[in-house]
């Protein structure tokens, strides 16, 4: 379904003016209708990979195929139309635009409270209280993060990309967040995460390290990580 071929992404280091490879020669086939969690240390290129798949940035070289079609040169909105959906790591604030405005754009319909409830209740928010709220600084980081997830559900699609969905979500809501991913079992889901509870849900794990990457079933990758506590190896905070 989604295949990355010889993907390389480099940036120019401002201090040394040297090219530095964030991702080198990535070749991965993401299994269809499975949950893959991308994990690895900070700065290893996880978010970069998600952005390349969505078309927010373009690879320095290599190709991206979706359902057999080369989508490397397609723009962000063209990929969105094909069924790729992203929930960003850092939700965006908009002065003057409301939760309803973005849900309407995402779902291509005018949402009433009862319609919005379908998406917002899945992230633990009451549509009545949030539908007409502006997406500005009056919302907390955690609220914005939940709304970001709800907007991705409203958009729908076949391939969901979640970049650290747990960031800013309080721990007691974790089970609901896990339920949200479980409900997408007929979709292809790729999540960037450090959280063991989310890793537990994975069918496949992609471990990105500074010197390369390993892709395998959860069990296969866990066996590699075993000598060290999983979270320590992954650079997570909850050791």
């Amino acid at each position: 379904m989604l295949e990355l071929k010889n993907i390389r992404y480099t940036v120019r280091d401002e201090k040394t003016n040297q090219e530095r490879a964030v991702l080198k020669d990535i070749n991965i086939k993401f299994p269809e209708k499975k949950l893959t969690v991308i994990t690895g240390q900070n700065g290893s290129g996880k978010s970069t990979l998600i952005k390349l798949i969505m078309g927010i940035i373009s690879p320095t070289s290599g190709k991206i195929f979706y359902n057999g079609k080369d989508i490397t040169s397609l723009s962000l909105n063209e990929r969105a139309d094909l069924g790729l959906t992203i929930a960003l790591q850092q939700p965006v604030r908009f002065k003057g635009l409301t939760v309803k405005n973005l849900l309407d754009v995402a779902s291509e319909k005018s949402n009433k409270v009862s319609d919005a409830c379908e998406y917002l209740s899945k992230v633990g928010l009451c549509a009545k209280n949030y539908l007409n709220r502006e997406l500005d600084s009056t919302l907390s980081g955690g609220e914005l993060k939940r709304i970001e997830l709800a907007i991705s559900l409203a958009k729908g699609g076949e391939l969901f990309l979640f970049d650290e969905p747990e960031a800013g979500i309080d721990l007691w809501s974790f089970d609901s967040l896990v339920d949200l991913f479980k409900a997408l079992k007929d979709k292809t889901v790729i999540i960037v995460s450090h959280q063991e509870k989310i890793l537990e849900q994975a069918d496949y794990l992609l471990l990105i390290e500074n010197d390369g990457y390993k892709m395998g079933t959860k069990e296969e990758i866990y066996s590699i990580l075993k000598p060290e506590p999983v979270c320590k190896k992954l650079g997570g905070q909850n050791e």
Partner: protein, 303 residues
């Protein structure tokens, strides 16, 4: 009234038919229609062009509409309107000017509005400006607001395109516990120029002013925003000026806050820049094109 008149009135004053309450519709420099009521009287000035609007003491939940339309070129219309808002009154005042200039000659409207608010009076004042047609459309509104104790004035001023040049001056003097809120929204395109100046004197104890300006400048247009808030007493002033720039446009924001009392709390915030890339990315990731995303961001921003 012809179809152009009706269209202009709809755009500037949301008038789809004759409004309820008092009204005065001015067209091409002359009064076209008027209704004066016992609650809100409208009287023509004898010494110069304009009207006195007298809102009697204690009148609540009433409105007065005083739109101005200009449908010819080569006209300069100067009008002096004085508003006397009685104690404890609570009213909505809808003004605004629409110019449809079909000729190449310039049309100009200078509306000089002076508000006198008595104790505890409350006013919501909405002013929309619009231009269409070939020739120059110039608007120079001057608004003076004198606010007695505990009075409240909320001013919403909207200029969403079509006006070739505008110079908007607003002056206010606030006595004890008076509260002034000004919300300004401006869109300029092509070679249009819009100048806004706010001068607010916080003379009373616990007086309060909030100015929120949001503007979008496109094409080769130019905008200038200047505010001068003077705190003479224990008071609060907050000015927020946000601008979005596109193409080759220019926005200048000049803040001046002048505290003459240690208990005066005055803040000026200003941010001008292009549309944030992350906002475009978010909307495009939902399927909008770059242009659609840009239009939605601007629409929301000026809503």
């Amino acid at each position: 009234m012809n179809s152009i008149d009706k269209e202009l009135l709809k755009s500037i004053a949301d008038l789809h038919s004759i409004p309820e309450g008092s009204y005065n519709i001015r067209k091409n420099g002359e009064s076209l229609e008027r209704r004066s009521t016992s609650d809100i009287e409208i009287i023509s000035k004898e010494d110069k062009s304009g009207i006195d609007i007298i809102v009697h003491k204690g009148v609540k939940n009433k409105s007065v509409h005083i739109p101005v339309i200009i449908t010819v070129g080569d006209l300069t219309d100067v009008v002096y309107n004085d508003f006397y808002i009685g104690e404890d009154a609570d009213v909505l005042i809808v003004a605004g000017c629409g110019i449809h200039n079909p000729t190449g000659e310039e049309s100009r409207h200078d509306g000089i509005h002076t508000f006198h608010l008595e104790k505890n009076a409350k006013v919501r004042y909405v002013e929309k400006h619009l231009g269409s047609g070939l020739g120059g459309k110039v608007l120079n509104p001057l608004t003076k607001i004198f606010m007695k104790e505990n009075s409240e004035f909320e001013m919403e001023t909207i200029q969403l395109g079509g006006v070739t040049y505008s110079k908007r001056d607003t002056e206010a003097v606030l006595e004890d516990n008076a509260k002034l809120v000004i919300k300004e929204k401006i869109l300029t395109t092509d070679s249009q120029e819009a100048i806004t100046n706010f001068d607010v004197l916080l003379s009373g104890k616990n007086s309060h002013v909030q100015v929120i300006s949001r503007s979008v400048a496109k094409g080769n247009s130019k905008q200038s925003f200047m505010s001068n808030i003077v705190g003479e007493n224990a008071s609060f002033g907050h000015v927020e000026c946000d601008g979005i720039l596109l193409d080759n446009a220019q926005i200048i924001s000049v803040p001046k806050i002048d505290a003459k009392c240690p208990e005066a709390s005055l803040v000026h915030e200003a941010a001008i820049g292009k549309i944030a890339g992350e906002q475009l990315i978010k909307l495009m990731s939902l399927g909008l094109t770059h242009e659609e995303a840009e239009n939605l961001i601007i629409k929301g921003y000026l809503s």
